[in-house]
């Protein structure tokens, strides 16, 4: 690797991306200071304090990762892949469960980590390496089989935890990276659309009643999904079928966002969040608090900053010195875009409830660290790439 002067090194530093990130981290603390104030009565700012710790440690992680040439990871590729599988297997043995899913590995008596968050980053690195020399070799349907087999083991393990949301994130990473890696758009796109259509049909058949002949023989089609996952999907299709569980959450979330109007009800003046009507308002549904208290102005600004962050990352991908770097960034962008789309979509009622966090904003250490590691990787690619194009 050729040595660059310090000045040139910093030229690869994408200030736009860093500014967007800084704004998001600041927004995270601001939002949490209103969204989590009524969660722990004994310490209203507990979540702000812990989030501050995650941010600081996350920044250190990002800087360290950025400082390391991402090329090193290529050499460790199969070690990383193996470590990833091991980590996900570990959850089944020492994991603690929450809401019917084993997702957490306890670290101390009060702290635990969520390996699936880190598994996403590890998958991105290994899959980027896997795809980087397959340029022009993804034109036929049979060419899709190997990449699919590559991502299948970790995805299945996540799915079995069960964590449908994160499994779908893996799917999004797979699709995004395959697309950027040059998969034949018509054939690959066809398979993706076909898969989604098949899934929806299967779910429909699973929950449907009173179907006409001959479809009635397919009624109640068994699915490899847990009851609560199916319920969430049912509720998404028809929220009125459940007003106390997820359907109720989504309904209250939509009311919260809608009632915010243009300017919002003001900092700490929302009713849905502050009166605890809205559940999980400091984690999965934190976007509803933004909508309620800061209005359309607030949600637009937040989404705009996210959009800038992702576009700046894509800019980094453009000037990456190699395919590996480009694909890493593409994976990170796909992951974050999917998170934002599903989380915000869920809060505003256009996506089913899957419980995946809003990057950088949702309170939580694993998610923050994983996202900061991802940023570190993107910075590492950027610092070693060509001069900025824009």
């Amino acid at each position: 690797m050729a040595k660059k002067s310090d000045r040139k090194f910093l030229q690869g530093f994408d200030f736009g991306m860093i500014l967007a990130l800084a704004l998001l981290l600041g927004a995270s603390l601001l939002i949490l200071s209103t969204a989590s104030i009524n969660v722990l009565k004994s310490d209203p700012y507990h979540y702000v304090k812990s989030q501050t710790i995650w941010i600081i440690t996350g920044i250190i992680m990002a800087v360290v990762v950025a400082a390391i040439d991402y090329e090193h990871w290529r050499k460790l590729n199969w070690w990383i892949y193996g470590f990833n599988i091991l980590l996900l297997l570990l959850v089944f043995f020492v994991g603690s469960s929450a809401k019917g899913a084993q997702r957490w590995i306890p670290i101390t008596s009060t702290q635990s980590i969520q390996p699936s968050e880190f598994a996403k980053i590890l998958l991105i690195i290994t899959f980027a390496n896997f795809l980087s020399d397959r340029r022009g070799k993804l034109n036929e349907i049979k060419d899709f089989i190997l990449p699919l087999l590559f991502v299948m083991p970790p995805t299945l393990l996540i799915f079995l935890q069960p964590d449908l949301g994160t499994a779908l994130v893996f799917g999004a990473i797979f699709v995004g990276m395959m697309f950027v890696a040059g998969a034949n758009p018509i054939k690959f796109g066809g398979i993706i659309v076909g898969t989604i259509a098949t899934t929806i049909t299967a779910i429909y058949l699973h929950i449907a009643t009173n179907l006409p002949w001959p479809l009635k023989y397919l009624q109640g089609l068994p699915l490899p999904l847990k009851d609560y996952q199916i319920n969430r999907l049912i509720v998404f299709i028809d929220p009125s079928r459940d007003t106390s569980g997820d359907g109720y959450h989504v309904m209250q979330s939509v009311w919260a966002i809608g009632s915010g109007g243009l300017w919002g009800k003001g900092y700490q003046h929302g009713t849905q969040g502050q009166y605890n009507i809205l559940p999980e308002h400091h984690t999965d549904f934190i976007f509803s608090v933004v909508g309620e208290e800061f209005g359309f102005i607030g949600t637009s600004i937040l989404l705009f900053i996210f959009c800038i962050l992702l576009l700046r990352m894509l800019n980094v991908a453009m000037k990456s010195r190699d395919n590996f770097g480009t694909l890493i960034v593409a994976g990170v962008v796909s992951m974050m875009a999917f998170h934002i789309f599903v989380n915000v979509g869920m809060a505003s009622g256009i996506m089913p409830v899957t419980g995946i966090p809003l990057p950088f904003i949702t309170s939580g250490g694993s998610s923050m660290w994983a996202n900061m590691l991802a940023v570190g990787l993107v910075m590492s690619v950027g610092l070693r790439g060509d001069r900025p194009m824009f």
Binding site: L262, Y275, I277, F304, L310, I340
Partner: protein, 687 residues
Amino acid sequence: MERKERQPYHRRLVGLGVAVVLIFLILGFNLWRLQIAKATYYAGLAAGNVMKNVTTPAVRGEIVDRNNVVLARSIPKFALVLDWTDLQKVNQDWKNVVGKLAEYIKPYWPNANQSVELITEDIFVMIRNQQWKSYRPVVIMEDVPSQLQAVIAEHSNELPGVSIEPIPMRVYTQNTTLGQVLGYVREISENEIEQFNQQAEAKGDTYRYAQGDSVGKMGVEKSYDAWLRGNHGIDSVGIDSNARPVDRVTLQEAQPGNTIKLTIDSELQKVVEQKLDEVVKNISLVHPDAQAGAAIVIDVKTGKILAMASRPFMNPNELIGVISDETAQRYFSSEDAASFNRALTGLYPPGSTFKMITAMSALQAGVITPEDSFYDSVSILGPQGIEEWGGNNFGSVNLYRGLAKSSNIYFQVVGRRVFEKQPELIRQIAHEFGLGVATGIDIPGEGTGIAPSPQWKKDYYKPTYDKRREDQLKAIDQKYSELLANTADEKQKQNLQKQKNNEIARVEADYKEKTQFYVDWRLFDSYNNSIGQGYNSYSLIQMANYVATIVNGGKHYKPYLVDKIINPVTGEVVKENQPELINQVSVSKENLEIVKKAMSGVTSGEGTANWLFSDVPQFSGGGKTGTAQIGSKGTSKGESYNGMFVAFAPYDDPQIAFAGVVEYGGHGGDTAGLVAKAAFIKYFGWK
């Protein structure tokens, strides 16, 4: 890397960029739809979610006496309140919450030995009892001690839906003083709603009563409820998911009720009550039946009531909240029920206190002059005449001496003359003085009474005997028409006809006899009614007002209890009751003076109550004793008498009039007279 090789990557990255922008556009458009296009719709939904309107109770107005001494007021007490509908909403195990609550309140529960399980059961019963008005929180405990308030606050997280709320409670500061006049407050019953709404309407009030309102159940509390009540406020309360109020916005301030200022002098009232109590206690040693009595002091120039007492006394505080069976029995169902206002509702034969009416009627009819005198002998009355009390003979009697000695024979003679000359005059004069007509006093429940006359007797009893005769004749007719129809034999028919005629004749004879006795005015009626016996019965308030009307120059005022209604915030007088002249009596000023003078003879010289004021040299005025014959308790033996006494003072420019009764008290002067004396001494400040 060569740029050429990477070119397709760039295209794909641009494609990914387009996808990213597209995602944000989709999200942004959806947010625009929610937050701009349908913002008002969702704002309404979210508001309905957390804000609910609750009424805040108005503080009921005070009742004060003429010197602003507080008799009734509302003070906030802290009540333990359970909003169980909200509790059920947030907590599936709401019954456990009630159990936990029972544990915390056990040390403060009124019944100390009750187990937690039983307290829990009691709370469930309270909730069940309130189910039909479930929107209202259930009051578990009134007047929560501060230690318990602290305990509840400390454990508020375990007790969703439980809160300590200040609620106004009615307190009668003087306890038994004026109890029956003040009345008491309890929750409105369903059949009262209409009645109270009419009261509000009459006042021009838009308020409509509803279940759960507290209203006056008797006395001033009842008749002035629309003024005392105030108006509920409305608070918009934000409720969190634990059903605890977290935010409160007052939409409408609660308006406190008006202050009611009575005409009553509570110091005078106390003296009257104390004396009445003492007198009844003393007399009950001789007459065990004597337990009850009443007294009234009235301002003769206005009709303002200064004191109104009724024994057994009522403490309205005992009728707030939970009432024990024993208390209920004492107040409502016992023979001497304490909630019964004897001065207002009780009807008593006036006895000799009626004799001024007879005197004035005789003077008006011109059948006597005051100086006309004759020898006091029962022989001049004939066989139907009534003897003097104790078989006395007062020698030569005229009007003055007749009234002073309370001569039955004198008043029978003059009464007979009046009834013969103008049969309806005594009733008419009695009515002019307010006897036997509703006074229109401003508290509910007054008795009307009867001032009899020949026409009254006929109207009152004739229909009964007419109907009886008619029924009997009809029965005979039916009976014989059947018998006659079944008989062919001519001779037998004639016999039956004869029998029928006999039976009819018997009925007619019976009717004639009964009519002569019970329908037609008899000489005995004239005698009996002239001395206040017979059909006469009046309320004590009528008696007091009648004396007032004699001594104030014949102005018959409407008696009243409420002087002013005052806005407690501004001090402004909202309403002031003015003395209301009902009529000027037809008795001439001279004749009124004659009777007034005669009454002064009762309390002086050789009068029946000459001893009463002998130790009070300041006294000038007059009175009249009455010892009205009634059946004794449980029997109808004519040995029991109500002691009745009426009086006024001073003689020149009279100020106040008094009427009092002690049931089974014997002589009026010895009993009610002592109460009058105490009242006068207090009122005029004599020592």
